[in-house]
Amino acid sequence: MVAVELNVNGREAHLQLDPRTTLLDTLREHLHLTGTKKGCDHGQCGACTVIVEGRRINSCLTLAVMHQGDKVTTIEGLGTPERLHPMQRAFVTHDGYQCGYCTPGQICSAVAVLEEIEAGIPSHATDDLEKVAFSDAEVRERMSGNICRCAAYPNIIAAIRDVAGEDKA
């Protein structure tokens, strides 16, 4: 057992963990923050996406002990049913989900994607590395690590576009 300290959604967590425990299982099984989902446990689907120190990561692909003192934001940290985060609200409005299982990961990813674009971080779909700007192609590329088998893809893009203030409608 090792002692692990995390800051999850603004709260300090002091844990005694088996060093093999992934960040994902720490959240789900030890902190009972089950909003973060396990779709594959192998970094293949994106359902476990959380934001660590401002960057989105697959929490199944990293051990909790590697995150001593880190700030972790999960879906529960973004909003609650009574006080939805704008991205959560947009997913409801645009029906950006069906079964809901990929959804927390999509939303955490989407929030971070908009910040990446804002920060000028380029992607494979960026034409001009000097000018990173919002476009549907940028978002589709950056969101492609988040699989939605229900395939709400166009609706998810519409939700992100809406939050980015790029809604054409």
């Binding site: 959560q88 029906d95 069906q98 079964c99 088998r149 893809y153 166009p154 609706n155």
Partner: protein
């Protein structure tokens, strides 16, 4: 309530809540991660420990010995379940192979043990210490090689194995234009995002399972049968399901082993099937080999049509009924369909979204494209010419209940800009892209199933609906709330819906696109009963009372339903049962898919650029979630056309690419805007809701539209799915590819 004559006007027709696009009522729970899925029931089973499934390392044979000493002695291990200590087990009615294998092994990755430990890490680790000695036997794993030994299967879900009308052979032989082609589709995996998972707890002889299952009543029954205990002793709870697509229609190993594990260790146990185990341990859509023959006159009018299908399954399994749509979709006096089933020792084949049509149309609709070219008729026009308004195997005595197929083709073509398609393939070039358009018909049977519900109103006029119906992403919560709100004249916000609990009245469950229409009809029936009780309390005539704004009204008298219900509330329960309207009328849903692709001139990479479709599926209960169902299914069609394939290792008998990195499904970057048009349609012979299924229609034909677009772009006709780059490049010579 018995539905045995066409619906007349009823309260649903008011359309104040039903038929209006509504946000999902379960949306806030889903987007905040507060909707509890099966593995997340810390609330219900806080002391649950962890089970890890061990799957068979051989496809066929026997377990000779199990050495569990090292595993048993590993840190944290609480118990191990194998066939040696599980006690006598039966098999569920819906299962082909046993969920716990041994000593006989029926397929690769069949569960052979559950290792239970205090933590997930300990359980997973100890599972690797289990030593199992196998005696493998030779198996049959190659469908093409087993075709010769395939036999006609028994009549099952898809009807009889063979159907005939007229004299196909003679008519085909004399037809001026003949198409005769062979198509293949591979094994496919549902790949729903939540792997099968269950938390199980015993209280004396009472068993509760929090699980992820589309068919609560079937599966509660099958678990009871497998464990040889009374069904009343089993409670199955499945309120949120992270996708199913058919993979969760049945009891699976997670549920049985969690129940056995919990009995072994005397406390709740939770089990998820690990993602890399899912494709081989659970069910999949079986591969098919299909032959389509069409004989037509020079104008493309069909006189003779035949569809022969081969698929394989374990002993006792069923066929992929891929000729189903060919029995009903097009005209032609001379007809033949056949299904042949080979015995294979691969994992269990079973239903995946639109079993039958999803792969049948991948063949038939490409054959129609080939016919259009052979007759020099536009592919949309060809399909219109072959429309038929009755069951073509029976004749005009069995008309369709409603069939707006031609309207779908016409309106869909208009919206998509079909007239801009170049009729000759390989002609349109934009930069490095060859551009092409394709069309395909959409067809899916409309099934209905008995469905029950109870509905109550409390003293404040708040309405609650309870049924064991499930929401697998389909939007059941919302359409059920809409139905209750419409029937009782209350706003949507005044309705609470509780689903997926075997303590509630048995419903149709979710499958075969029957769920929405059937389960809302069950709620309709229960609401009629409640309306009757409320009217009686008010002293009104039930058939004259109007329910609106939270009141029951007759003439100029009105009373709030809440005050009639009183403090203890008022409940009613009923179910919908369907008569023989589905026999008297052919019932199906229709549509037309359109697709534009770009194919890279050098690499042959295919990009879907646009998709559009027009669909007729009766009353669309919630256009918002129905559209999502359709685009989701269209996307699964893109997957089937371009990438989805479980690769069979024909030496050892398993699917090689058994995870989400190797089994490819469409991602964000693969899917452009998708346009969906629902035609106005009410089907009074389908149900009192006048709705039909829509959840599977969208996959039916979508992949063929992609295939036909690739042909139009390149002039390369591929008939073996998925249509991958290597297959295009192999045929590149002499094509429009560079």
């Amino acid at each position: 309530m018995k539905f045995d004559s066409p619906a007349t006007s009823n309260p649903i027709d008011r359309g104040r809540v039903v038929g209006i696009p509504q946000d999902r009522i379960d949306g806030p729970a889903k987007v905040t991660g507060t909707a509890p899925y099966a593995y997340e029931r810390h609330d219900a089973a806080p002391s649950a420990v962890y089970g890890w499934i061990v799957g068979s390392a051989i496809a066929k044979g026997r377990i000779k010995a199990i050495d569990s000493q090292a595993a048993q002695a590993a840190p944290g291990v609480l118990g191990i379940v194998t066939h040696q200590n599980a006690g006598p087990l039966d098999k569920g009615n819906m299962n082909t192979a046993h969920l716990l294998g041994g000593p006989q092994i029926e397929h690769f990755e069949q569960a052979v043990a559950l290792v239970i430990a205090d933590t997930l890490e300990n359980a997973r680790d100890a599972a690797r210490l289990l030593r199992i000695d196998y005696a493998p036997e030779k198996g049959r794993f190659d469908l093409a090689a087993e075709m010769g030994s395939a036999v006609a299967p028994e009549t099952g879900f898809g009807g009889p194995a063979d159907t005939r009308a007229g004299d196909f052979d003679a008519a085909f032989a004399r037809a001026p234009v003949r198409i005769d082609q062979r198509y293949t589709t591979p094994d496919q995996s549902h790949a729903m995002l939540e792997p099968h998972a269950t938390t199980a707890a015993w209280n004396g002889d009472q068993l509760t399972l929090w699980t992820s299952n589309q068919m609560v009543s079937w599966s509660a029954g099958d678990l009871a049968k497998t464990l040889r205990i009374p069904k009343e002793n089993v409670r199955l709870v499945s309120p949120y399901i992270g996708g199913g697509f058919g993979a969760k229609l049945f009891l699976r190993a997670d549920a049985l082993l969690a129940a056995l594990g919990a009995r072994t260790v005397g406390r709740p146990v939770k089990v998820a099937i690990a993602r890399p185990q899912v494709p081989n341990n659970t069910t999949h859509r079986p591969a098919t080999i299909q032959r389509v023959r069409i004989g037509a006159n020079r104008n493309g009018v069909i006189d003779a049509i035949a569809h022969d299908v081969w698929s394989g399954d374990l002993p006792g399994g069923g066929p992929e009924t891929a000729a189903q749509q060919t029995r009903l979709l097009y005209r032609g006096d001379h007809r033949l369909t056949t299904h042949r089933l080979a015995t294979l020792d691969l994992p269990e084949g079973n239903a995946m979204r639109a079993p039958g049509e999803a792969v049948g149309l991948l063949a038939l609709e490409v054959a129609m494209d080939e016919l259009a070219e052979a007759c020099n008729v536009d592919p949309v026009e060809l399909r219109i010419r072959n429309d038929v308004q009755h069951d073509p195997e029976v004749g005009p005595s069995r008309p369709f209940s409603s069939r707006k197929f031609v309207e779908c083709l016409r309106q869909g073509a208009d919206r998509f800009g079909w007239s801009r398609r170049h009729p000759k393939p390989g002609q349109v070039r934009e930069g490095r892209w060859l551009v092409g358009m394709g069309v395909a018909s959409a067809f899916r049977n409309n099934l209905v199933a008995r469905s029950g519900a109870r509905i109550g109103v409390d003293g404040k006029g708040h309405v609650t609906v309870e049924t064991d119906m499930t929401d697998i992403g389909t939007g059941s919560y919302t359409i059920i709330a809409q139905t209750a709100a419409e029937m009782l004249g209350v706003p949507l916000a005044a309705v609470t819906v509780r689903l997926g609990d075997s303590r509630f009245p048995a419903s149709s469950g979710s499958g075969g696109q029957w769920g929405a229409n059937s389960s809302t009809s069950g709620v309709y029936a229960a609401a009629w009963a409640l309306r009757g009780k409320l009217a009686e309390k008010a002293g009104f005539a039930p058939d004259q009372a109007v329910f609106e704004d939270g009141m029951i009204r007759q003439g100029n008298q009105s009373k709030p339903i809440g005050s009639l219900a009183g403090r203890e509330g008022l409940w009613a329960e009923d179910q919908i049962e369907f008569g023989d309207l589905a026999k008297r009328y052919a019932q199906a849903t229709f549509g037309a898919h359109f697709c534009e692709v770009g194919v890279d001139i050098d690499t042959a990479e295919v990009r879907v650029r646009r998709m559009g479709g027009a669909f007729a599926a009766g009353r669309i209960l919630n256009p918002k979630s129905a559209r999502s169902q359709v685009i989701g299914a269209m996307t699964m069609g893109v997957g089937a056309a371009l990438m989805e394939e479980l690769s069979v290792d024909t030496r050892f008998g398993f699917f090689v690419n058994h995870d989400m990195a190797e089994y490819l499904v469409p991602v964000h970057a693969d899917i452009p805007e998708q346009d969906v048009l629902f035609l106005d349609e009410l089907d009074d012979k389908s149900s009192p809701m006048k709705a039909k299924g829509v959840g599977e229609l969208g996959i039916c034909g979508a992949g063929a539209a992609v295939a036909n677009a690739i042909y139009n772009a390149t002039g390369i006709r591929l008939r073996d799915y998925p249509l991958t780059i290597d297959k295009l490049l192999e045929r590149g010579e002499g094509s429009a590819l560079a």
